[in-house]
Amino acid sequence: MKKLNSLKAGQQIFFSGTIYTARDQAHKRMVAAIKTGKRLPFELKGAIIYYCGPTRTPKGKVIGSCGPTTSLRMDEFTPLLLAQGLSGMIGKGGRSKEVRDAIKKYKGVYFVTYAGCGALLSKYVKGAKTIAYRDLGPEAIIKLEVKDFPLIVAIDANGGCIYDAD
């Protein structure tokens, strides 16, 4: 995980390891849990969150189509999660100044991945287990094991941002 801090905006990597899906409603719940001192469904320290709500899993497959959703909807919740130790996020599109500052402050990293390519991305998911908020349907938290998942560093730990590059 330490290596994530040394990545630079614009770099492409292929990530293998564990990531957790969480999107709008899951973020709202996690932040409410932190504020009321309740336990979170997974250890935030060092974790990577993937802004994703997959389709239902077809029979015989590990997961269905599973591309990224628009990250900026999670912006209001993100600084608190970073303060609590969240290491990385995967999504699509830009982030607010507050998120960018928080990424820099807490030495996190924000990745983007191929947007609108959910079928293709399912190839890199080797395991999927729903671990919390099952009642949210596609917005439940799923623990994913991924292999060579393609990521592009969009905001790095020094605040470097890919959208400024050109």
């Binding site: 949210l136 349907g137 917005e139």
Partner: protein, 273 residues
């Protein structure tokens, strides 16, 4: 009167759900291939290659092109000489539900927009036109909300210059920026009322991309592609694949303009019964 059974409608909608979600529209595919050639930037090319690979993989493996299988929008063009035996709206929604369940698509619809709750498969949004004839045309468009969220409506003054309108449309695309899966297809509705302009903007997305463009459409496409937003917003020559405009007469006091952006995964499928 020609009679069509509601059950036939349900069956047709279920099949359209499969086609729209698994098989990318041929015109969109060709436009994406064209964009791949048009791009010089290596990263933009890599992204467009991934988008094309995704469409091929989705089709081959019966997977949704995008996990956001949308709020399904169904366009009905009902011939006035057709009699539907049964409940048309219920038949359409049943077809949507059966299709989304059968093909493992996503349940993205919350019953109450304020209370939210557990997402379901339906209802869809239905737009109905009564036309001449004894046939019925059904179109299913799964509209993802990453791009739907970037929709804009502006009521211009009737004296507004075309330049102002162009600026509004280009700004709408700029404000979507990298967020809504570019390269976009930009649907524009001009005229009618506020609600009607928005329906026209969505209907514009059903026009074949290669259909001949007006000067205004060409000009807007050039301006949008000059923004340099590019595929995934990471820079490039191709920010939009097309701009499509639908117009309608309007009131002397107004000039409604609505912009409905689609991501590159512009999905729809139609059948005539």
């Amino acid at each position: 009167m020609r009679e069509i059974k509601a059950s036939r409608i349900t069956q047709a909608v279920t099949e359209l759900v499969r086609q729209a979600n698994f098989i990318l529209r041929q015109d969109v595919l060709s436009a994406l291939r064209g964009a791949y050639k048009f791009e010089k930037n290596q990263r933009a090319k890599t992204i467009l290659k991934a988008i094309l690979d995704n469409a091929a993989y989705a089709r081959k493996k019966n997977l949704a092109i995008c996990q956001d299988t949308g709020m399904p929008v169904v366009f009905v063009e009902a011939g006035q000489d057709v009699k539907i035996s049964g409940d048309l709206k219920a038949a359409i929604n049943k077809g949507i539900e059966e299709g989304y369940k059968k093909y493992f698509l996503r349940n993205s619809i919350v019953s109450d927009p304020l209370l939210r709750g557990k997402p379901k498969f339906s209802p869809c949004v239905i737009h109905t036109d009564i036309v001449r004839g004894n046939k019925i045309k059904l179109t299913v468009m799964p509209k993802g909300f990453g791009c739907e969220n970037k929709s804009q409506l502006k009521m211009f003054k009737p004296t507004a210059a075309t330049e102002e309108i162009k600026k509004f449309i280009v700004e709408a695309v700029k404000s979507a920026g990298p967020d809504a899966c570019p390269p976009y297809i930009v649907g524009v509705g001009i005229g009618g009322t506020a609600d009607y302009a928005s329906i026209l903007a969505k209907k514009a997305l059903l026009i074949k991309i290669q259909a001949e463009n007006s000067k205004l459409e060409e000009d807007l496409l050039k301006k949008i592609n000059k923004t340099g937003i590019g595929p995934m917003g990471l820079g490039g020559r191709c920010t939009a694949l097309a701009v499509k405009i639908q117009k309608y007469p309007t009131h002397i006091a107004g000039l409604p303009v609505s912009v409905n952006i689609s991501c590159h995964a512009l999905r729809s499928a139609s059948i005539i019964l």
